[in-house]
């Protein structure tokens, strides 16, 4: 006699954070074995697989990809022939997801129904979650219905964002609020850069690679840029890597180029493309935040002439590149058309002062213009 069994999200998060559904590995109507992976989820720590606790057929899916779910929340319904395990809920209070719970009947053993519920909500962590659940998960304690003038429930548009987006948002907010930024703006001749890029056969060298190259070389005589401010002293960053900002499906990632001073722009470009491909392929290793002492960000492809970026902590600076474009400049009292590019260096004022940073930026320009 088949019964419906509610599959609940197991307690996989290391901290009190939510779990996000990533993808279902089984389709509706498919037969599933106990122990088979049902879906993949993302916790604060890692991507994990959730195995089925019963064998049966998947009848309903109640959580969609990108949806945040709570521990204990019913995420699917399986039709099972086996005597479904009599679940002793950690807290005896009924789950508010009663709509789906009503169709799920778990086979009670006679002894279990006669039991005095000795296990009432003793596990504080789960209890706290249960109490919040009657309110909006986003704003515990606020009932949307009671807010005057708010749109009728169900019509407020919400745009769910990825965990990577949320992480970037938090980091950047913290940076803007705690790091004393100053901004230096200059432009460089991109003539040699363009020439070198055209001379290259095969895949064109990525623009960013030239700036990584120039910054790595400029660091040699401006080593203080590779320090960070910590508790009143300057600490050398643990790495010589320079990060490059990469956009993957609207998410911002920073891809580290290790040991850039030993590489040519072409080698840097290859490395950058490799890492960006791995990122696009969804490689979790590539998505991990890795240390660098500086980041390069390029919006030239989108037509931006110049911009100032936000320092990516704990780095000391970020170099923002605009588009390479032909512009009129004065050379020996004549107006000539030259390929130019704007660079804006945002700097953490706790690490270096304006003069030092300006010399560093000047050195970057020098390296770019000295390319052959």
């Amino acid at each position: 006699m088949p019964v419906n069994y509610s599959i609940r999200m197991p307690d996989l998060a290391a901290t009190e954070s939510e779990i996000t559904v990533l993808a279902w590995c089984v389709g509706l109507g498919e037969r599933v074995q106990r122990g088979q992976t049902l879906l993949e989820v993302e916790t604060d720590k890692a991507t994990m697989e959730v195995e089925s606790v019963v064998s049966g057929v998947l009848r309903e899916v109640l959580a969609q990809p990108d949806q945040r779910v709570e521990v204990g929340q019913v995420i699917a319904v399986m039709e099972t022939e086996e005597r479904a395990p009599s679940i002793k809920r950690v807290s005896e209070e009924a789950s508010p997801t009663a709509a789906s719970g009503a169709t799920a009947t778990e086979t009670p053993t006679p002894a279990a129904t006669a039991t005095k519920p000795a296990r009432r909500g003793l596990f504080a962590r789960n209890r706290a979650k249960k109490e919040d659940r009657s309110d909006s998960p986003e704003r515990p304690g606020t009932n949307l219905r009671s807010v005057p003038g708010s749109a009728p429930l169900g019509t407020v548009p919400l745009l769910r964002v990825s965990p990577a987006h949320r992480r970037a948002a938090e980091r950047l907010q913290q940076s803007q609020q705690t790091v004393p930024h100053f901004y230096l703006q200059t432009s460089a001749s991109a003539a040699n850069l363009v020439a070198r890029r055209s001379a290259c056969s095969g895949t064109k060298t990525a623009w960013d690679a030239f700036f990584v190259y120039a910054a790595a070389r400029a660091l040699k005589r401006h080593s203080r840029m590779a320090y960070r401010y910590e508790d009143g002293t300057l600490v050398r960053q643990p790495t010589d890597a320079i990060g490059v900002a990469v956009d993957v499906d609207d998410d911002l990632f920073v891809v580290p180029i290790a040991d850039p001073a030993s590489l040519t722009p072409e080698q840097i470009s290859d490395r950058l493309r490799q890492l960006a491909d791995r990122l696009r392929a969804g490689d979790p290793e590539a998505k991990r935040v890795q240390p660098a002492w500086m980041t390069v960000s390029n919006l030239g492809a989108s037509g931006v002439e110049s911009f100032a970026a936000i320092v990516n902590p704990p780095e000391s600076a970020v170099l923002a590149i605009g588009k390479v474009a032909p512009l009129p400049v004065a050379r020996e009292n004549q107006i000539v058309i030259e390929q130019r590019v704007n660079l804006t260096l945002s700097v953490d004022h706790r690490v270096v002062n304006g003069r030092y940073a300006a010399d560093f930026l000047h050195a970057i320009v020098h390296e770019l213009e000295a390319l052959d």
Partner: protein
């Protein structure tokens, strides 16, 4: 870092042993495996709170060593101690009750997964602090020696514990005073997610014993008979007063460090190589190679173990929890 997984697993030779003894070893290993698997699903269902560190894949170490001990001997254990407990003789009942937080559990519901133990069965409640039980084992052995009781203590710890200061202190003390401790290092190649060759310059743990002056031996930890034989030798030496012995048992865990560990740091090929060296499968093959053991006997053992586990789970869910009045009982020394 050479691991024995680079060579193909040597088939186990189960001849020359008493049939009943061998089936007993098999049953205990299957018991550990089914217990751990069952507990895993209890967590996935949401029935069981807390966290748990499981030992699927490492069954032969606990079973092989404990089979070489007498009832009067003792063991110390770790946060990954369900296997040790079952091998030493704790019942599925007292352990499941404990995992459900019941007052009738082996630690009265106050210990949980990481503190399994039963003083009446020769297992002090496990110490979850990495390396924490090593000096304690040395102290226990000192007591045995001073009281001239002929008892031995087997001290279980992992590869991660070897880098702890407590390892140095406990092993050194046991060495200088010839204390009857068998130091059992379950080297499963990972301390949480850190591979052992990143935290150790020497290729083996066993060779480090020469720095302390005791004998160290490296054993295929997934061969229950090899483990048992090495443990027997070690226990005999200890009882004879020859001093402590360290056994490095090479093994591998099939699951993550704890149940919230996705275990992505274990390379796929490595996992697959070790799956081929599964201790239970290998032993089953060795048993079937004997003419006096049939495959359906082994299946019957497994079925019996699973049935017992499931029945005990139902009872465990109905056990009483500690009352509020007992909040501070047994918690402070």
């Amino acid at each position: 870092m050479t691991s024995t997984a680079e060579q193909p697993p040597r088939p186990i030779n189960a001849r020359g042993y008493d049939r009943g003894f061998l089936l007993g070893l098999y049953e205990t290993m299957v018991l550990i495996r089914e217990f751990e698997e069952g507990v895993k699903y209890l967590f996935l269902e949401g029935s069981m709170p807390g966290t748990v560190h499981q030992c699927q894949g490492q069954e032969a170490t606990a079973v092989g060593v404990c089979a070489a001990l007498n009832e009067e001997d003792w063991i110390t254990s770790t946060f990954r101690g369900h296997g040790h407990a079952l091998a030493k003789g704790l019942s599925v009942e007292e352990m499941l009750f404990e995992l459900f937080g019941a007052r009738t559990g082996c630690a009265k519901g106050k210990g949980g997964s990481m503190h399994m133990g039963n003083m009446a069965k020769g297992m002090i409640p496990a110490i979850a602090i990495v390396g924490g039980s090593i000096p304690i084992a040395a102290g226990m052995a000192l007591a045995f020696k001073m009281k001239r009781t002929q008892q031995v203590v087997a001290c279980f710890f992992g590869d991660g514990a070897v880098a702890e200061g407590a390892f140095h202190e406990g092993v050194n003390l046991a060495a200088i005073w010839d204390l009857p401790v068998v130091f059992v290092c379950e080297n499963n190649l990972y301390g949480a997610s850190t591979r052992v060759d990143k935290v150790m310059k020497t290729p083996t743990i066993a060779e480090r014993t020469s720095a302390y002056g005791l004998r160290g031996e490296r054993v295929d930890g997934n061969d229950v008979l090899a483990v048992h034989e090495a443990a027997q030798r070690a226990v005999e030496e200890c009882r004879a007063g020859a001093g402590p012995v360290l056994l490095e048992l090479l093994t591998y865990r099939r699951g993550g460090h704890s149940r919230r560990d996705a275990c992505h740091y274990q390379p796929k090929e490595e996992r697959e190589r070790w799956l081929e060296r599964d201790p239970i499968d290998r032993f089953a093959q060795a048993l079937i190679a004997r003419e006096d053991v049939q495959e359906d006997e082994l299946t019957a053992i497994r079925d019996r173990v699973v049935k017992q586990f499931n029945e005990t789970v139902e009872r465990a869910k109905r056990q009483p929890l500690p009352s509020l009045e007992e909040l501070c009982t047994d918690v402070y020394a």
